[in-house]
Amino acid sequence: MTRQPGTKGLIFNEPNVWDKSREGRCAISLPRADVDRAPLDPSLTGEAPNLPQLSELDVVRHYTRLSQWNFGVDSGMYPLGSCTMKYNPKTNEVQAARQGFAGAHPLAGDEFSQGALRLMYDLEKYLAEITGFAGVTLQPAAGAHGELAGMLIIHAYHAKQGKQRSKIIIPDTAHGTNPASATLCGYQSINLKSGPKGILEPEAVAAVMDEDTAGIMITNPNTLGLFEEHIREICDIVHAKGGLVYGDGANMNAIMGVVKPGKVGIDVLHLNLHKTFSTPHGGGGPGAGPVAVTEELIPFLPVPRVEKELDSFRFVSDCPESIGRLHTFYGHFGVMVKAYAYILSMGAQGLLDVSRLAVLNANYIKESLKGTLNLPYDRPCMHECVFNDAHQKKHHITTMDMAKRLLDYGFHPPTVYFPLVVEGAFMVEPTETESKEDIDQFIDAVKAIAKEAQTDPEKLTSAPVLPKVTRLDEVAAARKPCLRG
């Protein structure tokens, strides 16, 4: 077995930032006051907020030390299923930081924002081409926000048809945001079981689809990493009953240049720029969740829309059928810049290669580990594969134990206990930017851990031992919430 990456090193304890505070310090360079003081009426003013008082070095050291407690894609392999933790190119950051973009005021006026408008217009075009749809909005601030946009569009569509519907079909493999987004539109979620092959069966859809059902939310490839082979039939069934098909495109990384969701019957699709299009996740965002729709649904897209006239661009808001505004301004423009830079860097062949290699990596892991971990659905997968802890149960070892032990080996664990259809799911998405050597190392690690599960289970149940902290008491955290210092 090659040497594993995880090892121990010197890092630093660091108290809460206010514990370092001393009365009188200030880490910011205070601008010179060149006008008279204009005191506000005392009835309006309050105490200054009790923020920490530090020197500049205190601040730098505090956050430098905190950063060293974190694991990022730059630190090591991060095969977090359903999250597409691929390399985030540094050049994208350079592009987004350009003064012309970072310094732009959203209300400077179209005339003075042509660069930003052109970028948004072209990015919409590129995403439309990649997904096979007629129209795209970049406004949603994240995937779930995109789902909401999509649900609102479906809701507006049915309203326009004159009869609103009350239900929406959601497969058991769906991400939690799907039903939650449907609920926001007042739709009742109808849970649909996937078939024995881990994908939806047209009959099952037909059985529940009716005139009171607004449509279906399908993630394709689904969260088992399997392609919904019957997507066309399913779309036909739903359409036949007047419903619409929502596509969760969070897994688009598997099929760029291979399948265009817009061409197979899907009506609305959201993308995660912070997954497929390489923008960093930032420890929880900001991301962006553009939504693509068919010609017929374009009128419902949120406002403002970006339009082109001759060679100049403008925002347009008088769209009577639009679902309205979803963001204070135009969405996460800074994220759009990075995705745009990524698409221009990759080109058509590059994006196709991305999907091919992402799928290759996942299948390579699936085949290499299926003897070691139980593989509930033993079929060719797309960009990710889902194992579980069935083989380890007899040693009283859970998926969580294996995940925590992986930390000691120097890998970020896969997504665990999702999707819910697989008990003890261990969901591996390597992404295309991981090299064969790093993947082989990961495979070795999982095998070694599976061996430990038999020979030395303690090693797993007491894992992790290398990180700054050991397992944390989440139950206590929730029972007596302490949400502020």
């Binding site: 350009r98 996740h281 505004r325 062949q349």
Partner: protein, 444 residues
Amino acid sequence: MRYLPHTQEDIREMLAVAGSPSLDGLFDTIPDSVKTKHGLNLPEPLTEWELNDHMEKLASENIACKGYTCLIGAGSYDHYIPAIIPYLVSRSEFATAYTPYQPEVSQGTLQGIYEFQTMVTDLLGMDIATASHYDCGTALAECALIALRKNRKANKIAVSDLVHPSHRQVIETYLKPTGYEMVLIPHTARGLTDTAALEAMADIAGVAVQSPNFFGHIEDLAAFRKIADSKKILFITSFTEALAWGVLKNPGSFGADLVAGEGQSLGIAKTFGGPGLGLLAGTSKLMRDLPGRLVGRTKDTNGQDGYVLTLSTREQHIRREKASSNICSNNGLNAMTAAMYLSTVGKIGIREIAQLNHDKAVYLRSALTAAGFTPVFDSPFFNEFVMKVPEGFKKKRADLIHRHCLFAGLDLTPFYPELTDHYLFCATEKISRQQMDQLAKEVA
């Protein structure tokens, strides 16, 4: 391509293991009828160097590249950002991590966000702040939904017409499919939300007031608290300029139940409007109704302090259709940025900078008044205010942009059609006296 590590040999070996004859073969489970026949039609890929040129050209088509002077606020503010912040927040351990699902290797993000939550509660005087939301508009919409859901009897939410116009539109978008309704509270001649009008409103589940409001005026939040109490409804306040709380009485001191705010002013570049930072805070009573992530303190198996995401039983990944919201990813890295900013300015800095913003705004307002502008409202303001402009200002304003790259205020007509020739001005710590004097001279 430099992002793709696979050598031809790697691919051969891996295909053999994967049991596929070719890369295309990996997609055999996909019916041909579903596959696209004619690939992707995208521009030729650019080298890193061509990309730099292309992007600089695009960026230069935005006025911002010229380093312009921005006297526009209206939800996006031009403040100084210390050099340490972009450096620290760009450290890849922060930037390239996912949501902290594995707390043992995410303590940096978790402690940082826990400190963010704490500092935001200090800033706003509230019990609890969430780990962030998308922006103020979406946070405010979530607050409205909380108020409406908690109130079985009423299905209307009263919203001041001096809440940022975009925020009101976002609320509408969120409410449209729910059957809930937003009713607008008009404003008075003093540019303040009309309390009497609110008094008169029946079966409303909550009231939302922005302060400083869209005109920049400081609302009498105590009055709204009183009315909310009398109606037994939730009192929601919002704001777009977070620095105001460096000097103004905070929402918590007026007994706000929920606060939605925009945190862009806290060290985040304007970036054409996003990503900003949605701040969302509430009282302990509403803890389980709050949307999105919360970080809590706990102990590890050795009794050492540590942090985790908590109360996730509110959230979509556990509750699915019964979740308090559908939000998953939030604006975490911008929350971290705001935490860094708040730690940098500290108690002394935020007070001084807030006061400076007000000082400059007062100076600008009187300079413009002297130059023939009419101060329309006489209500106290923070760093924004409305003026009726003299004849021919529109043209002078255009000149100022072309000659000095100076943006003199925002035309209010698109937002309040009745306010023709009214402009909203904003002054921050970045505007110098000399710039303001020059402006006044040019427009006089």
